[in-house]
Symmetry: C2
Amino acid sequence: MTVQHETFISKYKDILEKELSASIHKLNAPQALKGAMLYSLTAGGKRIRPILLFAAIDAYEKNPEKGLSTACALEMIHTYSLIHDDLPCMDDDDLRRGKPTNHKIFGEALAILAGDGLLTYSFQLIAEDEHLDHHQKIWLMKMLSTCAGPEGMVGGQVADIQAENQELHLKELEYIHNHKTGRLLTYSIIAGAKIAGATEDELDLFEKFSRHLGLAFQISDDILDVIGDEKITGKRIGSDIEKKKSTYPSLLSLEGAKEHLAHHIHEAKETLSKTNLKTDLLQYLTDVVAGRDR
Amino acid sequence: MTVQHETFISKYKDILEKELSASIHKLNAPQALKGAMLYSLTAGGKRIRPILLFAAIDAYEKNPEKGLSTACALEMIHTYSLIHDDLPCMDDDDLRRGKPTNHKIFGEALAILAGDGLLTYSFQLIAEDEHLDHHQKIWLMKMLSTCAGPEGMVGGQVADIQAENQELHLKELEYIHNHKTGRLLTYSIIAGAKIAGATEDELDLFEKFSRHLGLAFQISDDILDVIGDEKITGKRIGSDIEKKKSTYPSLLSLEGAKEHLAHHIHEAKETLSKTNLKTDLLQYLTDVVAGRDR
């Protein structure tokens, strides 16, 4: 099945990337702003969040393109968060995926405004989408603001900054991950399901699935920082230890972290199978997200 | 009528400010983030945008409180834009309304995130509002993202940065003002009208009214920078000249700017009277916004 799944992923990655560019080009806005927004939007990446959204629609055997605007909105929110995170007063990163970060090219002022623009525009994309009904649009915008805002990603980012140079307990570490990256991953899945017409019970199952998926993603990331191959991961090994960051291996030992990872992957897949939907693609993506392919 | 209007303004300013605080307190988010958001939200100001929104509802003799969430959303967007504008890489302001700016108290990272949080939360407030119907909510969120995003305020802010140290033509100056401050003022009015059940024709008239109002506001601001009383305006006189900023007086002469101001106030009021609604409060606010009371 792998070839079929990889075909799906590359097909919808392509559709998404074309739509992202088109969304920016059609904006009636200063060229400098559009250039800065487009630069980071087209800087590559696995597009894992949009792919999860499309895959959740595919589980209902509906046309994934119905979720195209929402997928673009999601990727814009993710991209804005990277631009703001990379700023000198935050993580102060000069490079992302081997390319200069937004503020290195456009300056800090424009980088902040490009982020603000992407965040704001994401709601416009959903509000203007003609393929969604009123109920879906409101649900999608409400959940997007909850998952991306103070009760979601922005809250997690603040908790992460406050945790710098502190020894964390497992609960605190999970709070940060559940908010900083988890809530937007959850949104990817439940937004796709909602667009496909999910019931409340199915949304609950997908939310549970994505909670396990999000933690698996983070634990795997932490493990790879200890044992990964720099050539494959594209990241420098041992950077968490250097920064004295609390990680799953540092709190649970490497073996404990691996057990934790296996547990969350197992739970994620078990939860998926309870939906009685066509979830083979999501099962496959669970392994991808949990780093089994890295 | 002035006493009655002033009573309306102070009553709804009070209602708004209580609701703004309550909206932040009820958030399930890190205290540090809530503190930084609340600090700037409660730092004072005339609350002119929310008051215009309430006044537009009042023109239909409906209960202004129906617009309370949208008014809070609007003030949050305005506040986030001030926080980001004040950052060292933008205007680098240490004080706003006599108080230290957000980043002087909380640091740049938290200031940026407080802005991001306010921007994102504003959509949540509208999406969760139980007093609005589906059609209104979608319209309000779509217009908010358009007026505040790349095609609105964020676009105007970029154009303003690019115009620094450049001699502008009147058209370029109007582009900046129409976007940087004008679009959100327009939103204040048309959002209120929409909530009250405005027809398309009425919305068109209100949009025309608010375009004149927004320009009157900006021209008046520029004139006061030349001839105002620092004790009354709370701003240092002559700062535009020091910064070599293009202004209406610098492009049109002081007399020309005054004529321009009178023209826009006249047009604004003429347009209002064409609505055949109870617009005495909006007429009064036109004088307030255009600086006739300063």
